[in-house]
């Protein structure tokens, strides 16, 4: 049951073969058993979850059923959920109980999904290993001494270890796709503006985008049907007609269901910096796509190398301003003792934020300062447009772009914490799409052996053009019809 797809679970619930309470209890039991070791969740509330499950069962009994009614979902702790502690992985918000629901929380409530709990994450989504969380690191279910990736590390581990049916994440520079790659599941970052940011705690507003983290492309499509859609409370939310993201998914009798699909391989994604073992898995996946009928096109994204420096100007700039509201005045952490207002600010923020968050606030404050703004922020915005233009050119030659989602498999906890630049390079293949606002996903593509002989998952990244999520999901879905990487489970968690 824990390995079933959302569609299968839905069918079982609707046919009353199981109840939502039973399903929810199953996951709660697994969480109780495995979470103390994995640390995927920050907040759990069994009674709340079971009450929602009970309500879902009543709804099912009344025949008022839609996909995901009664399905237990994990929510990244970046989304405000009324009555839930909502920490964003920070000491700063340890005492914050959200008094309102984020847009997507309301969306899941509306379909009658069950909120199992709030998942661990890098502090304010700043990190690629989940090690910046105030609530401790998360363990990669495939190898417990390794990181799950980040910043959506808790959701990633929860999906991989089957501690939820599916989860939500957010992706500012790769925070859905890199953990999906490192933990071996399917994660989608939609086009910027597709999922409302209302109630999602801001890191870098022009880059932040929520998306689904689930076992398969089909599951992600069902999650997207709930999460996506216009919300007038978010001015950057796109007012487009509601889409059915499952519409392009089909079972084909043809041996070449992707006949005619042009897949672009950017040479910059297969150069120095990519682990050879990861490269091999990606090549095998591309070979599989050829078998499915895809045509391979060589392309170039010449400004890829600039994406990390540009990102580490823009994202910290926005973050430095977004995080100014955590001042100890109205909510959140306030120092116990202080002499005056300035001292209260200084102490509260010094105590409330961790090192990585402080580093980014400092960088952001610096690049926005008088005399530096033009050289850093403005220049970075100009290069951001060049990076987006790279993709415009590329999509003239191909339908989707493929490559690795992360340069390596999961690394050991502690390995990169003292080397921020090495950590930042984890997002080398994912950041450009955030800068361009494009959709990207990572799907399980196989396993690579680590230096110490552990078999670890590798993700294939699929980047699409704006609003092309439905096609991307089908491109992933067809691969998942002929491979079983996405059904594999870490050992010892059965």
């Amino acid at each position: 049951m824990i390995n079933s797809s959302l569609k299968q679970l839905g069918n079982m619930l609707h046919a009353k073969k199981i109840s939502s309470v039973e399903l929810t209890q199953t996951f709660l039991d697994r969480i109780q058993q495995y979470n103390p070791n994995i640390n995927a969740y920050i907040s759990l509330d069994e009674s709340k979850a079971l009450a929602q499950a009970k309500a879902a069962d009543a709804r099912i009994a009344a025949g008022n059923v839609v996909p995901l009614t009664g399905i237990p979902i994990a929510q990244k702790d970046i989304f405000c959920a009324k009555g839930w502690q909502t920490t964003c992985g920070s000491k700063m918000l340890t005492n914050f109980i959200a008094p309102y629901d984020a847009h997507i929380i309301t969306q899941f409530d509306t379909v009658g999904a069950v909120n199992l709990g709030k998942t661990n994450m890098d502090e304010f989504a700043m990190g690629s290993s989940n090690e910046t969380s105030y609530f401790g690191g998360v363990k990669n279910p495939w190898s417990l001494d390794r990181v799950p990736g980040g910043s959506s590390g808790g959701s990633a581990a929860a999906v991989a270890a089957r501690l939820c049916a599916a989860a939500t994440g957010t992706d500012t520079g790769g925070s859905i796709r890199q953990p999906a790659s490192l933990c071996g599941f399917t994660g989608l970052k939609p086009t910027y503006g597709t999922v409302s940011r209302y109630g999602m705690i801001a890191f870098a507003s022009s880059l932040d985008q929520a998306g689904p983290m689930a076992k398969s492309a089909e599951d992600c499509a069902l999650m997207m049907n709930v999460m996506a859609g216009f919300d007038e409370r978010d001015s950057t939310s796109l007012n487009r007609e509601k889409e059915d993201y499952t519409r392009d998914l089909y079972s084909s009798n043809s041996a070449k269901p992707l006949q005619g699909l042009k897949v672009g391989l950017p040479k910059e994604y297969f150069s120095e910096g990519l682990d050879a073992s990861v490269g091999k898995v990606i090549e095998a996946a591309i070979a599989e796509y050829k078998k499915l009928g895809a045509e391979i096109v060589d392309i170039s994204l010449p400004n890829t190398g600039l994406s990390i420096p540009v990102y580490y100007v823009l994202a910290p700039a926005e973050a430095s301003s977004n995080l100014s509201r955590y001042d100890g005045v109205r909510y959140g952490h306030r120092a116990a003792e202080y002499t005056d207002l300035m001292d209260m600010y200084n102490k509260s923020r010094a105590e409330g934020f961790g090192a990585e968050v402080k580093r980014r606030i400092l960088i952001g404050t610096y690049v926005l300062s008088a005399g530096y703004y033009d050289a850093y922020y403005l220049k970075a915005q100009q290069i951001r447009r060049l990076i987006a233009q790279d993709f415009v050119e590329a999509f003239k030659k191909c339908d989707v772009i493929m490559g690795p989602a992360a340069p390596s498999t999961a690394f050991k906890a502690g390995e990169k914490v003292d080397d921020p630049v090495a950590m930042y390079l984890q997002d080398i293949y994912t950041i450009s799409t955030n800068l361009a606002g494009l959709p990207g996903m990572s799907i399980p593509a196989g396993f690579a052996l680590s230096d110490d002989g552990v078999s670890l998952p590798v993700g294939l990244q699929i980047i699409g053009n704006y609003f092309d999520e439905a096609r991307m999901l089908n491109v992933a879905h067809q691969y998942q019809q002929v491979t079983d990487w996405h059904t594999r489970m870490p050992a010892g968690l059965e």
């Binding site: 918000l93 999602m200 978010d234 001015s235 926005e318 509201r325 005045v329």
Partner: protein, 481 residues
């Protein structure tokens, strides 16, 4: 050395919208603290701003009223600084690309001599939309400071002038004109006590005849025209004295203390914030189309300048009268309603700006709350015009109308103010007066003109004020010739 003062103003006008500029919370004044602070006002984690279209319409109205360039695309920026009443740690404002660009306002500056004034054009640099901060409340709780976020997010239009003004009088004339204009076009209630209209004044001095601007000091948050005048005059004197004593002016922000009449620096440039402005990524650029402008234009009232010109041509009023009657829409409406009800335009202008204005002033009330409506005043003026009552009697009727003692004609009847126009009766009275005041008659005949007026006065008194003064004059003249 002769000095010249150079003044520019930045005015924060609170816009008359129903809700805050970036949220649906009410902006009503005077509510219990934090009862109008929604999740956006408090800046909870995860909340986002959504621009209030009403505020944009107010900005367009203002741009149209001052004949300014209205930006087809303007950008909201974050002004970053920490203060407890600034919940997000930044204020959403406009920086590089404001919604309203260059425009101009023509002002009448009072000059020496009764009814004397000269005209001056004050150039507007820009006007931009922004949100107000909350308020720090000290002393409500012993030993603590409170924060009231009801005002946080209230829409403001900040209107910035060029340094075009050369005296405190010009600055005040501009501020008053702007105050009238924003109320006229309905974008601000103009309530200065409640902070709906607040002026920051930049003052610098330079040797007369030189071009280079002196170092300025900014007088913050003036909320009365009287204080503005006092503050600028004090600041100007202080700067001149400082320079003449060999000192230099440091750029600074100063506050005016109405009790001492002095300005005092609150922070110098060195302590000034680096606001780290950057475009707000939560808001799209504000796009205003020609259609948007046309739609607002269609709702615009006739502007004071146009109405003034019309009053001069249509009613034959003097420039001074037309100007005075168009200082507020209520006043202008009252005047036109009086004329429309049948009153003579010039007479109506005189009464509205004379007797009525004086009475309103004495009673500390405004034209919108006058107990005498335009129809009543028109009726009163008609009774002067048709010789039913004298001008003096009319003032008595006016008083009675003010006290709601009845209609014009009822009051005239009740008080017996109907003027005596029967020449026979008036002649009889005059004969009696002449007989009783032979000394005066002699004085007049000896060339003392004043004696004539005294005789008129005696005749009026004898008629208990009811005789038609014109007839009294006429008959008396005849009898004495």
């Amino acid at each position: 050395m002769e000095w010249e003062v150079v003044i520019g103003l930045e005015t924060h006008t609170q816009l008359k919208t129903n809700t805050k500029i970036f949220s649906g919370a009410s902006i009503k004044y005077g509510a219990e603290p934090n009862t109008q602070a929604c999740e956006v006002s408090i800046a909870l984690p995860g909340v986002l701003p959504v621009l209030n279209k009403e505020a944009v319409q107010c900005a367009i109205k203002f741009g149209l009223a001052i004949n300014a360039h209205i930006a087809p695309r303007s950008v909201f920026a974050r002004k970053n600084y920490f203060y407890p009443d600034l919940p997000k740690g930044y204020q959403i404002s406009q920086f590089e690309l404001p919604v309203v660009g260059k425009g101009a306002i023509t002002i009448q500056v009072p000059a020496a001599g009764k009814n004397a004034a000269y005209e001056k054009v004050v150039n507007i640099t820009r006007a931009h939309l922004e949100e107000d901060a909350g308020k720090s409340v000290h002393g409500a709780v012993e030993g603590m400071s409170g924060i009231d976020l009801n005002r946080a997010g209230t829409p403001l239009l900040e209107i910035v002038t060029e340094p075009d003004m050369r005296s405190a009088v010009e600055a005040v004339a501009y501020a008053k004109k702007l105050h009238e204009l924003v109320q006229w076009i309905g974008i601000c209630d103009g309530n200065m006590q409640e902070g709906s209209f607040r002026c920051d004044v930049n003052v610098s001095v330079r040797p007369k005849g030189t071009e280079k601007l002196g170092t300025r000091r900014e007088i913050k948050n003036l909320n009365s025209f009287k204080f503005m005048q006092q503050a600028i005059e004090y600041e100007t004197r202080w700067q001149i004295e400082t320079l003449e004593d060999g000192g230099t002016i440091q750029q600074a922000t100063v506050l005016f203390n109405p009790d001492t009449g002095e300005t005092r620096a609150m922070r110098s440039k060195e302590e000034a914030n680096d606001y780290r402005y950057f475009p707000d990524p939560d808001l799209l650029p504000l796009v205003i189309s020609e259609e948007d402008k046309e739609a607002v234009k269609a709702q615009m009232p006739e502007l004071p300048e146009a109405m003034k010109a019309r009053f001069e041509t249509q009613y034959g009023l003097s420039n001074y009268d037309a100007n005075a009657l168009t200082t507020s829409q209520d006043l202008a409406n009252y005047f036109t309603a009086t004329v429309d009800a049948g009153a003579d335009a010039k007479q109506a202008a005189n009464w509205v700006m004379g007797v009525l204005a004086a009475k309103l002033n004495a009673a500390d009330t405004s034209i919108s709350d006058t107990p005498i409506n335009a129809q009543q005043l028109a009726q009163l003026l008609k009774r002067i015009g048709d010789n039913t009552i004298s001008n003096n009697a009319a003032k008595l009727v006016f008083e009675a109308l003010w006290n709601a003692e009845g209609s014009v004609d009822d009051i005239i009847a009740a008080k017996g103010l109907k003027q005596e126009s029967d020449s026979g009766a008036i002649e009889a009275i005059i004969d009696e007066v002449l007989a009783a005041n032979t000394a005066m008659v002699e004085e007049f005949k000896a060339g003392k003109e004043k004696a004539f007026n005294a005789l008129v006065g005696q005749a009026m008194k004898a008629s208990k004020g009811k005789a038609n003064p014109a007839q009294v004059n006429e008959i008396l003249k005849k009898k004495l010739s």
